[in-house]
């Protein structure tokens, strides 16, 4: 790890510990009835209210369900679309424009209009999936295109069949770009799930709207922070997958 990385980690660690100590200080001695000195965020809502963990988990689960399903279906569809683009180059403009138009449609509009024809959950999944198509297809295609021609020529010359070449050479070498695309798509969807609150879903963003409607800032803060934490967590998880799956991409060059 470079020095810069180490310093960043150290600073973050120190910051988290300091925050933890400060928070623990605030929390100790509070009960549900106590007026916290900071009306912006009532710690007791988070730690002493009985139903909170369950509700938190429910919302997180809803958020994750929407995210994971959309990204998975998006990956499958994008794989198909990418295969088409790679096989029939002339489809490229059409497919990318199509995905681009879907991407341009504001999510709130897409959620709204789809929900008039489907159940809310289905509408959300369809909308979220359509947003992943552009990012994923573009990255899948770019990843495969970036595989060095020399490696492909060598694979052919050594006697790999087309399928073997795809599975053993092209896809593994395209992995960095593909995984980056999946990561960006996932984080994007996490952000968009919040907007599905307009059709009574919303995952963790439900807290934001509840808080607004009931004039209870604590909930808004909770929703905001929780969504960000979820996005960061998923981002880190996929970065971890990237690191593990492509050891060859980050070795030092010893020339």
């Amino acid at each position: 790890m470079t020095t810069r990385r180490k310093v960043t980690c150290a600073v973050l660690a120190v910051g988290l510990i300091a925050f933890g100590i400060w928070a623990a200080n605030r929390i100790s001695g509070l009960s549900e009835d106590t007026q916290a000195t900071n009306p912006l965020f009532r710690w007791e809502y988070l730690f002493t209210r009985e139903r909170t963990p369950e509700e938190l988990w429910q919302n997180t689960r809803e958020h994750l369900e929407l995210t994971v399903w959309s990204v998975l279906i998006g990956i499958v569809l994008s794989a198909v679309l990418s295969a088409l683009v790679l096989r029939f180059r002339w489809l490229r403009a059409a497919i990318f424009t199509f995905a681009g138009v879907l991407y341009t449609i504001p999510s709130i509009a897409l959620f709204a209009i789809l929900s008039t024809y489907n159940s809310n959950f289905t509408a959300a999944i369809i909308a979220l999936t359509s947003y992943t198509l552009l990012i994923l297809t573009r990255n899948f295609v770019a990843g495969i295109d970036a595989v060095p021609q020399a490696a492909l020529d060598a694979a052919d010359g050594l006697g790999m069949s087309r399928v073997q070449r795809l599975a053993k050479v092209e896809i593994p070498l395209a992995m960095p770009v593909i995984l980056t695309g999946i990561r960006v798509a996932t984080v994007t969807v996490v952000g968009l799930v919040g907007i599905s609150a307009v059709i009574q879903l919303g995952g963790l963003a439900t807290y934001i709207f509840d808080g607004y409607n009931r004039n209870y800032p604590t909930l808004m803060v909770l929703g905001t922070v929780a969504t960000i934490i979820l996005a960061v967590a998923l981002d880190l998880v996929i970065r971890g997958v990237e690191w593990v799956a492509t050891p060859w991409a980050h070795r030092r060059v010893a020339r």
């Binding site: 020399a150 060598a154 010359g157 006697g159 070498l173 060859w248 060059v253 020339r255």
Partner: protein
């Protein structure tokens, strides 16, 4: 000998939309166990021809047989797995370690782990890769090391045929010279049938047992061993392609050991002043070389000697012989040494120092004339 012969008969390749075929009907035989070099200007179809052998390009007409079997009788992948293939850009798989790269074809053929590992270790030693590098990824290797791995990968399944397309083009000249020497050493151990494409005539002369000169459009102008190519080019195209310095290039093919060496101004340490004077006069130089028990020990300028006593060389301070050659040195190296030596004379000794004779410009000229 583990190679098999390759025969091209009437092989033609035309690309759609081109007026003339890239490779006109070509008849060529690559002998078993030899290095055949394909060389020619851009557009002569040498790479296309090479790639027709492992069917990366399919001939429009004609047949290619390896060891007597038409290449179309095998399945495509079976054919390619039985032919080694090395390319200029090396093409190692960046996502696999060196060992995994080398093991590619054995894995495709279904070898078991033990056999594969043994073979990888054997090849690493053969091409000169340190075993510690087997776990590294290609990006961590230098260009020369990468191409060595490329060669090892091509040889992994012990194919009888090895195709090389400008294999040393992507490395710097010093590394290239090393790799060329190593290829020759390798070939002396494994005796594969190697087809090598290059555009460098010096490389062709150095490496080829036979060199095929192709003209634009795949026309075979001449195929012959390099010395014959240099001494008797078939036509104007070949002679201009080979270049003007044919005589000097031929020098690199012949060896000092084949020359008739002169006795040279060299005497045993016990020699008398008369013998010294005689040797020096015969050679026309102002220094004398000294041997101990037949082994070359050094030389002394005449001015440093006291020629009046007996055994004037006893106790004389000898200087080391810098202008020294081995019997295996090429005539070109000999010429290089002579040009910079004192009195334009070089002394020849073999590995254990036994003095064999002297070489001058006259000696070389005499050797070429024969």
């Amino acid at each position: 000998m583990t190679g098999t012969a390759i025969e091209l008969r009437g092989v033609t390749k035309s690309f759609a939309g081109a007026e003339r075929p890239a490779v006109a009907p070509l008849d060529l035989t690559m002998n078993a166990g030899e290095i055949t070099v394909l060389i020619g200007p851009s557009g002569c179809g040498k790479t296309t021809t090479l790639r027709m052998i492992n069917r990366l390009v399919n001939p429009t007409a004609g047949t290619i047989t390896i060891g007597g079997t038409d290449i179309r009788e095998q399945s495509l992948t079976d054919l390619r797995r039985s032919i080694g293939y090395v390319i200029q850009q090396i093409g190692l798989f960046p996502h696999r370690t060196v060992a995994q790269n080398i093991a590619t074809v054995p894995k495709l053929l279904g070898w078991d782990k033990a056999r594969t590992n043994a073979r990888v270790a054997e090849l690493a030693e053969l091409v000169g890769i340190d075993p510690s590098m087997l776990k590294r990824y290609p990006a961590e290797l230098s260009g020369g090391q990468q191409q060595r791995v490329g060669v090892a990968r091509a040889l992994a399944a012990d194919p009888p045929v090895l195709l090389m397309d400008e294999p040393f083009g992507a490395v710097d000249p010093i590394v290239r010279a090393h790799l060329q020497d190593e290829l020759l050493a390798l070939q002396s151990r494994v005796h594969k049938t190697i087809v090598l494409v290059t555009h460098d005539i010096d490389e062709a002369i150095l490496l080829g047992d036979r060199v095929a000169v192709l003209n634009v459009g795949g026309i075979l102008e001449q195929v012959a061993p390099p010395d014959e190519l240099l001494a008797e080019p078939a036509n104007e195209f070949v002679s201009s392609f080979v270049g003007n310095e044919r005589g000097i290039k031929r020098l690199s093919l012949a060896q000092v050991g084949l020359l008739e060496l002169e006795p040279g101004p060299v005497v045993p340490r016990r020699a008398s002043a008369t013998d010294i004077k005689a040797a020096v006069d015969a050679a026309g130089v102002d220094w004398i070389g000294v041997t101990d028990d037949g082994r070359l020990a050094g030389w002394v300028p005449l001015d440093d000697l006291d020629l009046d006593g007996t055994a004037p060389l006893d106790g004389a301070a000898l200087r080391p012989v810098v202008a020294q050659l081995r019997p295996s040195s090429s005539l070109r190296a000999a010429l290089e040494v002579i040009l910079t030596a004192r009195s334009s004379t070089a002394l020849v000794a073999d590995e254990d120092g036994t003095y064999l004779g002297a070489v001058t410009l006259e000696t070389i000229r005499g050797g070429l004339a024969s």
